[in-house]
């Protein structure tokens, strides 16, 4: 059976090639878009988590993608927050999305930030002390070739780089809160607070107290961030679902078309197989195996193309986080092959049901 399948591939190399590439396209679509989406999400969640603190405090209508929020929380809330029993410290952060560079800049309050955070490590320099000083992470430093003492431009203002910290905490670039508030036109306002619980007090208790006290605010446990982000980020789910659907549809239609035209062209061949005593299931298997093979080749090519595409993206946008979990790799493969098998089912059954005498060209 294998020889028959392979000889058919070679007989129609263009169609085989196009089918493989189409399935590959579906796979690349899933891997690249999911990879970038999840990458962004995981990265944001992880870096947010590493700011420290146990809770994230936001206005009730806020999104967890900070880029979408402006500064609306009064900084004064800090005192109220810190009065809640079990709260050790709270630090306000103003987030501003730099669309042209596709990353966030955080305005942080030096003093309270250090109370909450414990992960920030400087490879060079230290946290800022002056209004127009900034700190950048190692990724930013490398990709923009910025060192301590250099000047960088943020939102039309010049900042002197005071320190370079190990990437993985907060945003790529951080400046003093007050300075960013002023530039942003939101004095005394913050996007969110990070709250650290007191050692020895059960997190659950503090969480409950915060929620009772601030009913109209959104309070998120930082440990749950990634999951909540994935489920609450606007259109994220719909986007992933759409991409998945599209990829299945591509595989399905391409294989349906390829196999349908194949069996139409090979009517006589199917008649011959039947005259030799090939059963229905033999013919169904023949068509399905052929499709699975095309799809498997498509998936393989898709993984290779995905790798190349990501290399290309990372070469141009080194800070772009990418995360493709094993789940999604398996899912992309299953979707590509599954869609193809579904597409092959109808032609396969049609072929198996053909009248052998007619297929042999009698009449």
């Amino acid at each position: 059976m294998m020889k028959l399948i392979l000889s058919n591939f070679l007989q129609r190399p263009t169609r085989t090639f196009v089918s493989i590439m189409a399935v590959a396209l579906g796979v690349v679509l899933v891997l690249v878009s999911v990879g970038l989406c999840y990458g962004q999400l995981t990265d944001t969640a992880e870096r947010t988590r590493r700011i420290g603190g146990d809770f994230l405090f936001q206005p009730s209508d806020a999104s967890l993608l900070f880029a979408l929020n402006s500064g609306t929380l009064p900084v004064r809330i800090k005192e109220v927050l810190e009065k809640v029993e079990g709260v050790e410290a709270a630090t306000p952060i103003l987030a501003k999305f730099l669309a042209d560079r596709f990353h966030l800049v955080f305005g942080i309050d030096h003093e309270s930030f250090e109370e909450v955070n414990s992960s920030l490590r400087f490879v060079d320099g230290a946290l800022f002390t002056q209004p127009f000083e900034a700190v950048v992470d190692t990724v930013y430093s490398t990709s923009n070739q910025v060192r301590v003492g250099d000047e960088i431009e943020i939102l039309g203002h010049r900042f002197k780089v005071r320190g370079v910290f190990v990437q993985g905490t907060a945003s790529r670039v951080m400046v003093p809160l007050a300075t960013l508030q002023e530039i942003n036109g939101t004095p005394e306002k913050a996007t969110m607070f990070f709250i650290k619980g007191r050692q020895g007090v059960p997190e659950e208790q503090v969480y409950k107290r915060l929620r009772d006290r601030f009913k109209h605010y959104k309070i998120t446990r930082t440990a749950d961030l990634q999951e909540i982000m994935a489920s609450s980020t606007p259109v994220f789910r719909q986007f992933v679902a759409a991409v998945v659907f599209l990829s299945v549809v591509i595989s399905f239609l391409v294989i349906l078309l390829a196999m349908y035209s194949t069996i139409t062209e090979r009517t006589r061949e199917i008649g011959i197989l039947k005259s030799l005593g090939a059963s229905r299931s033999y013919i169904v298997q023949l068509i399905l195996k052929e499709s699975v093979l095309i799809c498997a080749a498509g998936v393989t090519v898709g993984f290779i193309l995905n790798y190349l595409a990501l290399q290309l993206i990372l070469a141009n946008f080194p800070t772009m986080p990418v995360s493709i979990t094993l789940f999604w790799k398996v899912a992309a493969a299953v979707l590509g092959i599954g869609g193809g098998v579904m597409g092959a089912l109808y032609p396969a059954l049609k072929a198996a049901g053909q009248d052998p005498v007619k297929a042999l060209g009698y009449e």
Partner: protein, 248 residues
């Protein structure tokens, strides 16, 4: 006479009783067979003759289980194939029947050897089965041993037909059915193909039913039957026919 007694003692390869076949084309019934009766003994080589449209191919397709009869009974190698379902008929075809067609019907993408090998695999349900004949032996018998790697398109018509015969007999079928096997061949190649069928019949005792237009081809068979209008002529009718044809 001796021969006849010996033949009568042999088992039946094919028994056909009152076989009717009506094709339905739209709302019109087209009767193709109107009560065919025939018995073929094991080891016989029967030629079926008759004018175009008299139902020869229909009979062959029914014998090979490619069609289901409207009524009547067909036994092949003792099994009533007219009484079984589609799956079972397919199995019987796989195990007991070998087809040879006028248009060869080889798989164009496979070479000679693989065409034969495929028939073996289908016979063995996907596995190479040990029973049938050796591929090399059959290729040698049909003088195709140096054409093993050739695709059908690279073979002459005569070679293609010999290949299709090789494919048909590779699994030692109880019954070889040939529908005008020399219909698309020139006389030299026809002769070669007929000689080979005869050799298979004599040397291996292969039971053969062959449809042909050509009286010369029919004369290689051990028995000739004549069909007219969906019936097989009886012996008296046959005699009349033979006289008409100047055989006596």
């Amino acid at each position: 006479m001796n021969n006849r007694i010996e033949l009568a003692q042999r088992k039946d390869a094919v028994v056909v009783e009152n076989l009717q076949m009506v094709y339905r084309v739209g709302k019109v019934d087209v009767p193709a067979l109107r009560g065919v009766e025939i018995t073929v003994k094991q080891g016989e080589f029967v030629a079926v003759m008759g004018p175009s449209g008299c139902g020869k191919s229909t009979l062959l397709h029914l014998l090979g289980g490619l069609l289901r009869p409207t009524s009547g009974r067909i036994f092949v190698d003792g099994i009533e194939i007219s009484a079984v379902n589609d799956t079972e008929r397919t199995r019987i075809r796989r195990e007991k029947i070998g087809f040879v067609f006028q248009r060869f019907n080889l798989l164009p993408t496979l070479n000679a050897r693989d065409n034969i090998e495929l028939a073996r695999r289908i016979h063995g349900n996907g596995y190479r089965n040990g029973s049938g004949l050796a591929v090399d032996e059959v290729l040698r018998l049909l003088r195709l041993e140096d054409k093993m790697r050739h695709k059908p398109a690279e073979l002459s018509g005569g070679e293609q037909q010999r290949l299709s015969i090789a494919r048909a007999v590779i699994n030692k079928p109880a019954l070889l059915l040939a529908d005008e096997p020399t219909g698309s061949l020139d006389s030299d190649n026809s002769l070669l193909v007929l000689q080979m069928l005869q050799e298979l019949n004599i040397r291996y005792g292969q039971t053969i039913i062959m449809i042909t237009h050509d009286l010369e081809a029919a004369s290689t068979a051990s028995r000739i039957v004549e069909m007219r209008d969906g019936r097989i002529l009886n012996r008296v009718q046959n005699l009349v026919y033979a006289r008409e044809q100047g055989l006596f």
